[in-house]
């Protein structure tokens, strides 16, 4: 790829170089290009600062000149940026739908930085890895790579005493106080036992002062040294990038801890420096606003990029803007697989019931899987038909063998058989998965559950819904599903009537454990499950207070009360944005007409509808009422990208980056893919983690130590 590109564009770059560069630097750039040409280039980035990707190794000799020709050095920098940028763009063909940037580069950057960090630690060492980092790490660097860098044994962090004979221990962890405390205990235990070891903590994606303070307080600061692996983004697929930070949701929205705001900003900055700047940024939500500010600050610190952007528009959205969507049962294939089998880091483990053997199989689910990529966005009801058609085609392809002569047979085996066998394997896996999902869903009376959800979304027969939920609780079936229905009821109805709230809560505690008192407190704080504040009570309180204190205080108090009674306004929003199609209309799920197909035609995901509307209007104008009901915090900013003028109509303008802060569901991704197809654009989803109703609610449980 590099070579072919180079031949094509050599001239252009020579021109670029001579026009921009100080002559003494020209030579170095040429050499760099030459090395790119023959494919012998070292990782060309600064290992410690991955967001400044293309500085190294090139910038190091340049550094020496910096004191006299600082400006020259930045010229080198931007020249290299544009060179590499076009290198990288060269292989993306633009046709009707814009192609997507190659995100595998992000993996390579992360891997190289990790290797760099490991190389800083000479000698054999045992590596302890946080459990939830194992899968992401696996996508970046396999065991062989770790072994090559003198990692002896690998352990999972279990917060228990360790058995390791190594003299050097390295811990690759998320910056969590609990883990750091555990490490401190290990070190202190070693000290007591008179054992000498070296300890290194590599925090990823960054370290926190609070963690270092723990080391200090435990008296092991200095015995343990720390480092950072700035592994911000894991590409899960061509169009899905994940920060793999599920705790973002609880930390930010429940605890009100903004520790990940900068992380999200840094992730955007990383994307920006690798793939080009953005011309327009939209967003909604408190966290979105903060992330944008943090990102802007980082941009100001960095140097101005003048490269042509690969995606021009960015949309930031807080998860708490739309809680309804992630609480709905998913019925699109990929979402359903996630709900039932839990897709972890782009891979799923199918048990014996799917594989129809006694073994479980781990399968990567992404666009590489030709069968999966065709059904992932389909409504589940279409999947069976599709799979059986596929099976027939496969049979026909196999049948071609009949009546072949030797030569043809040879060609068949050489060219086609392998592909067919691969397809065969995938096909039987997905058929097995579909069967297993059907069975599970029939067992839990899925139809009735869906009916209740749809009634709630529509605001229809609420009493019946409450009875259904009550029975669901009484039967002690799925604790999470009961909670999910309660939350859905509360959000769609702007809170529960006091009587209902008390009775349902009491029954819930009886069925699933009284310690869920704490869970209810959390849900209440988040506004997910609330008791309606009677309108009168509020005014009575206000007038009483009004007699006692002056007007100014009353104003404040009223604010406090109204924030307490903060409403989800779902019904009004739904009406305004036409989220729920009129009932009675036929909806052909095989030929979806809008994004509602991801929920059987019953509901258009609010988050996706907002994105659609804002992109259409190029801002929030005309949506004042909607944003007011969403508690404001919306913004639209034209970015500082200077390249917008001439190229504003390029393909890049048709690639939109959507960042979900607090997680996004596969249903939303499917809906955006659909929207993209309709509008001739492509969406790239950046999310703090993939979520679904179970993950979302589990993050809010407080029923165990």
């Amino acid at each position: 790829m590099l070579i072919s590109y180079q031949k094509k564009n050599k001239k252009k770059h020579h021109h670029l170089i001579s026009s921009q560069l100080h002559s003494s630097l020209q030579k170095e750039l040429l050499q760099f290009l030459l090395e790119c040409c023959v494919g012998a280039a070292e990782p060309f980035y600064h290992p410690r600062r991955p967001h400044e990707v293309f500085l190294n190794p090139f910038c190091r000799p340049a550094c020496q000149h910096r004191c006299k020709t600082r400006s020259a050095s930045s010229q080198v920098y931007s020249a290299v940026q544009s060179v590499v940028g076009s290198l990288h763009m060269a292989h993306t063909e633009w046709k009707d739908a814009p192609g997507l940037p190659d995100f595998s580069l992000l993996k390579r950057l992360a891997r190289d930085q990790l290797i760099f960090l490991l190389e800083q630690l000479p000698g054999k060492k045992d590596l302890f890895i946080d459990a939830d980092l194992m899968s992401p790490l696996d996508r970046i660097a396999n065991v062989t790579i770790l072994k090559q860098h003198e990692v002896d044994k690998l352990y999972k962090v279990e917060l228990k005493p360790i058995v390791s004979s190594s003299d050097q221990l390295c811990f690759l962890i998320r910056p969590r106080i609990q883990t750091v405390k555990w490490i401190s205990d290990l070190v202190n235990a070693d000290k007591v036992a008179g054992r000498f070891r070296r300890y290194k903590i590599i925090f990823t994606p960054q370290k926190f002062y609070a963690c270092e303070t723990v080391l200090e307080e435990q008296g092991v600061y200095g015995d343990v040294t720390t480092d950072e692996w700035n592994f911000y983004i894991l590409p899960l697929d061509d169009d899905i990038l994940s920060l793999e930070l599920p705790e973002f949701f609880r930390d930010n929205f429940l605890e009100g801890d903004q520790r990940w705001v900068t992380t999200a900003g840094s992730a955007l900055r990383l994307l920006q420096s690798v793939y080009g700047s953005f011309s327009k940024v939209y967003g909604i939500g408190r966290c979105a606003k903060m992330v944008y500010e943090s990102w802007r600050e980082l941009m100001e610190d960095g140097e101005q990029r003048t490269r042509q952007p690969e995606f021009a528009k960015v949309f930031l959205v807080d998860r708490d803007v739309d809680f309804v969507t992630p609480l709905c049962s998913q019925v699109v294939y990929e979402g359903l697989v996630d709900d039932l089998f839990r897709i972890k880091c782009g891979s799923v483990e199918f048990g014996p019931d799917v594989t129809s053997s006694d073994k479980s199989i781990k399968v990567m689910l992404n666009s590489q899987d030709k069968v999966f990529s065709e059904i992932r966005n389909e409504h589940f009801s279409n999947v069976f038909g599709f799979l059986s058609q596929k099976a027939k085609n496969l049979q026909t392809a196999y049948d071609k063998r009949r009546g072949m002569d030797i030569q043809q047979m040879k060609a068949f085996v050489a060219d086609e058989l392998k592909g067919l066998k691969q397809e065969h394997r995938l096909l039987s896996l997905h058929i097995g998965a579909s069967e297993s999902m059907m069975k599970k869903k029939t067992k839990q009376d899925f139809q009735e559950l869906l009916k209740t959800e749809h009634s709630l979304l529509e605001g229809f027969e609420i009493r019946e819904c409450i009875t259904y939920i009550e029975e669901h609780i009484n039967r002690q079936v799925s604790m999470i599903d009961s909670l999910r229905l309660l939350c859905l009821l509360s959000i769609t109805e702007n809170g529960l009537l006091s009587k209902d709230y008390r009775s349902l809560k009491a029954q819930y505690l009886q069925s699933y454990g009284i310690e869920h008192l704490l869970t209810f407190a959390n849900l209440r704080q988040l506004g997910l499950l609330e008791e309606q504040q009677a309108g009168e009570t509020l005014t009575v309180m206000e007038s009483k207070v009004g007699k006692l204190v002056n007007d100014k205080t009353v104003g404040k108090l009223t604010d406090a009360f109204s924030s307490l009674a903060k409403k989800s306004n779902f019904r009004a929003l739904s009406k305004r944005l036409a989220l729920v199609p009129k009932s009675g209309e036929e909806y052909d799920l095989r030929v979806p007409r809008d994004m509602a197909y991801v929920f059987s035609g019953a509901y258009i995901p609010l988050s996706c509808k907002l994105i659609e509307q804002v992109l259409e209007r190029d801002g929030w104008t005309g949506m004042e009422e909607v944003t007011r009901m969403l508690n404001g915090q919306e913004f639209a900013v034209t970015g500082g990208s200077s390249s917008s003028e001439a190229r504003s109509k390029t393909d890049a303008q048709r690639i939109v980056l959507v960042m979900f802060l607090g997680g996004c569901t596969f249903s939303e991704i499917s809906a955006l893919r659909f929207l993209g197809k309709e509008r001739g654009c492509r969406f790239i989803v950046v999310t703090t983690a993939i979520t679904n109703s179970s993950r979302l609610l589990e993050a809010l449980l407080d029923n165990s130590a």
Binding site: Q64, R66, R70, T262, E470, E471, S511, A705
Partner: protein, 438 residues
């Protein structure tokens, strides 16, 4: 690239400067006054260059910074070296004074500058913020840049350097900082301080819940029970107070029931009842202690009364337990109600289709199942349940009553030839007295 390699290594890994020691004699110092001044003047506007060089502190295994001149551009030093004609010895001296200068400089930074340094991961010092006003300015600055990491860092410093009364008072007016502080204390497990904080803030319900949460950390059930008892006086909301009271009573009962383990010789059980929810306890009681008099703690009636369990809930649970044991007689009597004339009639607070579901899941025989399917009110629902669970008689009778000949023909095909059901349909179809609608 290979050309650049040796320099790279030296640049990043060399630690020889640091390891070097030298005499600190005045003579040398005076000789270098000039260079120090020069160096200091450079430091004033070093921000841009610094960025390239010291964004990160490099440390090796031993934890020593690699390349000790952190905040100073290496290239600049090299040129200085040549300008001032210094040898390595003298050069080190400059370095050391540079670092001292750096230290002083950190102490002169404004809250804003300090926060910016923290943001960039550079060396910083908070110790110079001694007046309350400065401390709060620092905190507000951290909040203003939205960086939770920094907010917590500042809070950790304030926690160490302010009395908790003052800190609490100031946090009251600073919601964002307060939430960071609460979260930090939670993560650090500083329960006592947290409770004090909640109390000081007047958030008594939160305080009560926070204390109640502690029970989750107590493994021993006796201790847990005692702890729950101690929670009873906490200022919960009215509803929650009832729930916590229930929690205590429940565990107390469970401990008593658990001690009476005689019964399991007959029915070995899978798990202990301790710490199970109320309904599970009720189920257990319906399973092992059914029919005991209301006076015993373990009897279903007692549990039902104590925890104010609704009739619907009670029937559901008892039904599940008795059906599991295949005591169809008990199941039957659950739904029997006598009216004042002494007739028995079957009534259920839950739909009979639900009852059928539960019976079927416990593999009730067809005759039992049929009885309850027949009790379903709605004819459509009755038919669909009968179809689902293959209650042939009911299906056939329903079609007969609907005079639906076609459905009967269709249904016949699903049956085994010459089975009694098959023959029954056959007879019906041959019956000329029925006036079919189709």
């Amino acid at each position: 690239v290979s050309r650049a390699k040796p320099e790279d290594d030296e640049y990043w890994n060399s630690s020889k400067f640091k390891a070097f020691t030298f005499d600190d004699d005045d003579d040398e110092f005076s000789r270098l006054k000039e260079s120090k001044r020069a160096v200091n003047s450079i430091l004033v506007d070093d921000d841009d260059d610094e960025e390239e060089e010291d964004g990160v502190e490099r440390v090796s295994w031993s934890g020593e910074p690699v390349g000790s001149v952190q905040s100073f551009p290496y290239s600049l030093l090299l040129s200085l070296l040549s300008v001032l004609h210094l040898d390595a010895h003298q050069f080190l001296f400059v370095c050391r004074h540079l670092l001292v200068g750096e230290g002083n400089r950190l102490h002169d930074l404004s809250p804003e500058e300090t926060v910016r340094r923290m943001q960039k991961g550079r060396a910083f010092s908070l110790e110079k913020f001694r007046s309350l006003q400065d401390k709060l300015l620092l905190l507000d600055e951290a909040v203003a840049v939205y960086d939770g990491n920094l907010i917590t860092a500042v809070l950790i410093y304030l926690k160490k350097s302010l009395s908790k009364e003052i800190l609490f008072r100031e946090l009251m007016a600073r919601d964002v900082a307060l939430r960071h502080y609460v979260h930090y204390l939670k993560e650090m497990g500083e329960q006592k301080l947290l409770v004090e904080l909640m109390k000081a803030l007047g958030r008594t319900e939160d305080m009560a819940l926070m204390q109640y949460k502690e029970h989750l950390n107590i493994k021993d059930e006796g201790q847990r029970r005692d702890f729950l008892k101690s929670c009873l006086g906490l200022p919960f909301s009215q509803d929650d107070a009832t729930h916590v009271q229930d929690h205590y009573t429940l565990l107390e009962r469970q401990i008593i029931i658990e001690a009476d383990a005689e019964i399991f010789k007959k029915f070995p059980r899978k798990a202990s009842i301790l710490n199970m929810p109320i309904i599970t306890t009720l189920y257990y009681s319906c399973f092992y202690h059914y029919g005991e008099s209301e006076g015993t703690y373990s009897s279903p009636e007692n549990i039902r009364k104590t925890f104010r369990i609704s009739e619907k809930q009670y029937i559901l649970t008892a039904l599940g337990a008795r059906a599991k044991l295949k005591s169809w007689f008990d199941v039957d009597s659950l739904f029997n109600t006598k009216n004042w004339l002494g007739y028995t009639k079957k009534r259920s607070p839950i739909g009979f289709h639900r009852v059928v579901d539960i019976l079927q899941k416990n593999s009730a025989p067809v005759n039992v199942l049929q009885e309850y399917v027949n009790l379903i009110d709605s004819p459509e629902l009755k038919l669909s349940v009968a179809l689902k669970y293959k209650c042939h008689d009911i299906v056939i009778n329903t079609y007969r009553d609907l005079k639906d000949r076609q459905e009967l023909v269709v249904y016949r095909e699903k049956l085994e030839r010459d089975s009694p059901e098959y023959r029954k349909i056959q007879e019906l179809l041959n019956n000329v007295q029925i006036r079919w609608k189709n």
